[in-house]
């Protein structure tokens, strides 16, 4: 469908101008033609009313004296007028006294009406008819009837119409040419602006400027547009500069990181190979010394050698932990779906085997299916459950609980013990390597375990945190591919066994439970 909205502005302008011009010309021509027609008619009416009056007046005497020759003479005087088709003169009884007709058969008197109207003044397509009563001395004596052909009037009028049409066409053409030229004053700056805008959009080149062609509203628009471009250019430059410097910085950091990584790897390598073999040598030769020359050595030498062996073994463990930490950091994640409860059970079983005389109340939430890297999660749980195992060793009724709960859509796993616990103000240092809250005499350890756990959870895009009351136990919470609930968040939904609520209900509960057992 034709829609004016989709026309280019140039065509719209043309349409507006041409429509207005056409309307004006047509109206003006119509007025002229109508005026011409009316004035022509009026002039005919005027001319023939005068003429008929003159002829009627001249015919007074001839009519009174029935002088047909004179009447005929009077009537014939109108013959010289080209437009008069017929003239007839009647007496009061409507008898034709004199007439002439320019028709082919003048004798038939066809052009003379039999009973003409007394005050005829009538136009039709071809003829104008007028009748003029002849009144002598206040007494009607007869009637003069004139029939005027309108052929010449119509001819004149049609010539006039044609001339007007031709002139109108010329005017319209002139208007079209002029407007086509003049509308460039509006469209050219607009087109330039449009093209510039398009180029800017296409090439993202903000250095372009639209040229100002006029000093009107469009000129103002061009100015505003250019100012806008300048602002854009400036901002773009800032952004690009920032991005460049940022990229440069990132590049530098990446390089540094790569170097550091390389160094770390080199260090790991040297630790695993270069440090371990001398350690093994120390431990091995100490052992050999004890076995081969043990009988020659005294008691304190034995004791020293045992200490050397113990220290070297501890150092080996430390190196293993460090290697594990670095492995955990670099290992490729392989996510699978597996049962966490199974894994926990296996770990507890292993710990029980290593430490068969300990009796610990262990509660494991069944069917905890999670998504994660099985190996890494096992390392993490190894550490967490191992810690719980380790820090509850001085407890009379040790208890470890592993489970999960859901709060506001976040699934939170926890490992809870009723062991030594720690002071809450140090909870932030927990996950830093080599930061220990207890003395090695009390609880042995490398100080790397929780750092490793932290790394593993971090690599699973989760969070880990801990809560504790000194001497009353500690709870470690972690999430996987999930955030922990915000501190200020109102708990709109929760399910599962939240360990916090349990501890709040009463500290004596575990003791009672154990007592019942």
């Amino acid at each position: 469908m034709f829609n004016i909205k989709y026309l280019p502005i140039k065509k719209k302008l043309s349409m507006i101008i041409m429509t207005s011009a056409l309307l004006a010309v047509v109206l003006l021509s119509s007025v002229f033609v109508v005026y011409e027609y009316i004035s022509l008619r009026n002039s005919i009416i005027k001319e023939f009313s005068t003429t008929s009056k003159i002829i009627a007046n001249r015919s007074h005497a001839a009519l009174l004296f029935s002088d047909k020759a004179t009447l005929q003479e009077n009537v014939d005087s109108l013959k010289i007028h080209d437009d008069v088709a017929a003239t007839c003169l009647y007496n009061e009884a409507d008898d034709i006294l004199a007439f002439f007709s320019k028709n082919a058969h003048p004798e038939t008197k066809a052009d003379c009406p039999i009973h003409p109207s007394r005050n005829l003044n009538h136009f039709d397509d071809k003829y104008y008819q007028i009748s003029q009563p002849i009144v002598v001395d206040g007494e009607p004596m007869g009637l003069l009837y004139i029939k005027v052909s309108l052929r010449s009037l119509n001819g004149h009028l049609s010539t006039y119409v044609i001339a007007t049409a031709v002139f109108s066409l010329i005017i319209i053409l002139a208007v079209f040419i002029f407007s086509s030229y003049l509308q460039n004053f509006i469209t050219t700056p607009l087109l330039l602006l449009k093209n510039t805008a398009r180029q800017v959009t296409k090439n993202k080149d903000y250095t372009l400027r639209a040229s100002k062609e006029s000093h009107d509203e469009i000129g103002d628009m061009v100015d505003t547009f250019n100012e806008m471009l300048a602002t854009l250019q400036e901002q773009n430059k800032t952004i690009i500069d920032d991005a460049e410097s940022l990229e440069l910085k990132v590049g530098e950091r990446t390089k540094e990181l790569a170097i550091a990584n390389q160094e770390l790897e080199a260090f790991s390598y040297s630790v695993s190979h270069d440090l371990r073999s001398p350690l093994r040598a120390i431990d091995g030769f100490s052992k050999a010394l004890l076995e081969d020359y043990g009988h020659e050595l005294d008691h304190s030498a034995h004791d020293y050698l045992k200490r050397v062996r113990k220290a070297s073994q501890k150092m080996g463990e430390l190196i293993s932990s460090l290697l594990q930490l670095s492995r955990v950091t670099r290992k490729e994640l392989k996510d699978t779906h597996f049962d966490l409860s199974d894994m926990v059970m296996t770990i507890v079983h292993q710990l029980q085997e290593q430490d068969p005389e300990r009796i610990i109340d262990i509660q494991i939430q069944p069917e905890m299916y999670i998504m994660g890297d099985e190996q890494l999660i096992e390392v993490a749980l190894d550490n967490l459950i191992g810690n719980a195992w380790k820090y509850s060793k001085y407890e009379k009724f040790p208890k470890i609980e592993i489970g999960y709960y859901i709060e506001n859509g976040h699934t939170i796993y926890f490992v809870k013990d009723n062991g030594a616990g720690f002071d809450n103000k140090y909870s932030k240092n927990l996950f830093t390597a080599f930061q220990r809250l207890h003395s090695p005499e009390q609880f042995e350890g490398t100080g790397i375990g929780l750092a490793t756990v932290f790394r593993i959870i971090q690599r699973h895009h989760g969070e880990i945190w801990a809560k504790s009351v000194l001497d009353e136990g500690a709870t470690f919470y972690f999430t996987l591919y999930d955030n922990r609930p915000q501190a200020g968040e109102t708990k709109s939904f929760s399910s599962g066994t939240n360990p916090d609520i349990k501890t709040n209900t009463g500290k004596t509960n575990p003791a009672e439970n154990n007592g019942n057992e």
């Binding site: 001249r58 007074h60 005497a61 009174l64 004296f65 002088d67 004179t70 001395d137």
Partner: protein, 179 residues
């Protein structure tokens, strides 16, 4: 018998009808002259014409018009009533106290007619007559007969000297105009 009678009755009826028609439509010469006389007045202008006055038509000599002339008494010309009077046509009293606007001279002795014209002389009186060559004798309008058609001559010279204006329309129709 009956058919014969009917035939003759029809014949008589047709004859009567024809006679009646001819009497009704064919105007006699005298009637035409009376109408002409009336029409003349319409194209004549006298000096000092009071609108209230009647136009007096004086008829001298023998009345050849018969009753037709009496019709003029009922007519008006230019809003003035026409009055026809018959002054004495005696030798002595002729032309005395002439107050006529129009004088029609009927068939009279030539001498009396001449006297009358002499008396009227250049007074503003329209003189009309059907005397032969009346205009040559000093009359203003004289009827003539060309074949069966009644026409008239006009002595414009005499009319001018009498201060009577004759419309050109009338002059146009005259058979002969003496200037």
């Amino acid at each position: 018998m009956i058919s014969h009678l009917a035939k003759s009755i029809t014949c008589i009826l047709i004859l009567l009808l024809t006679l009646f028609c001819s009497a009704a439509f064919a105007r006699s010469e005298n009637e035409i002259k009376v109408v002409y006389l009336y029409n003349f007045i319409k194209f004549i202008k006298w000096p000092q014409e009071p609108t209230t006055n009647n136009i007096t038509i004086c008829l001298y000599g023998e009345n050849t018009f018969g009753d037709a002339i009496e019709k003029l008494n009922t007519l008006k010309a230019r809003n003035r009533s026409l009055v026809v009077i018959y002054p004495d046509s005696d030798k002595d009293s002729i032309g005395e106290d002439i107050n006529c606007s129009v004088v029609f001279i009927g068939p009279l002795e030539d001498k009396i007619a001449d006297d009358l014209l002499t008396k009227i002389d250049s007074n503003p009186v329209l003189t009309v007559s059907d005397i032969d060559s009346f205009t040559d004798k000093g009359g203003i309008i004289g009827f003539i007969k060309l074949g069966n058609v009644v026409k008239f001559d006009i002595n414009l010279k005499q009319a001018r000297s009498s201060n009577i204006q004759i419309s050109s329309k009338l002059l146009e129709l005259a058979n002969h105009v003496i200037q």
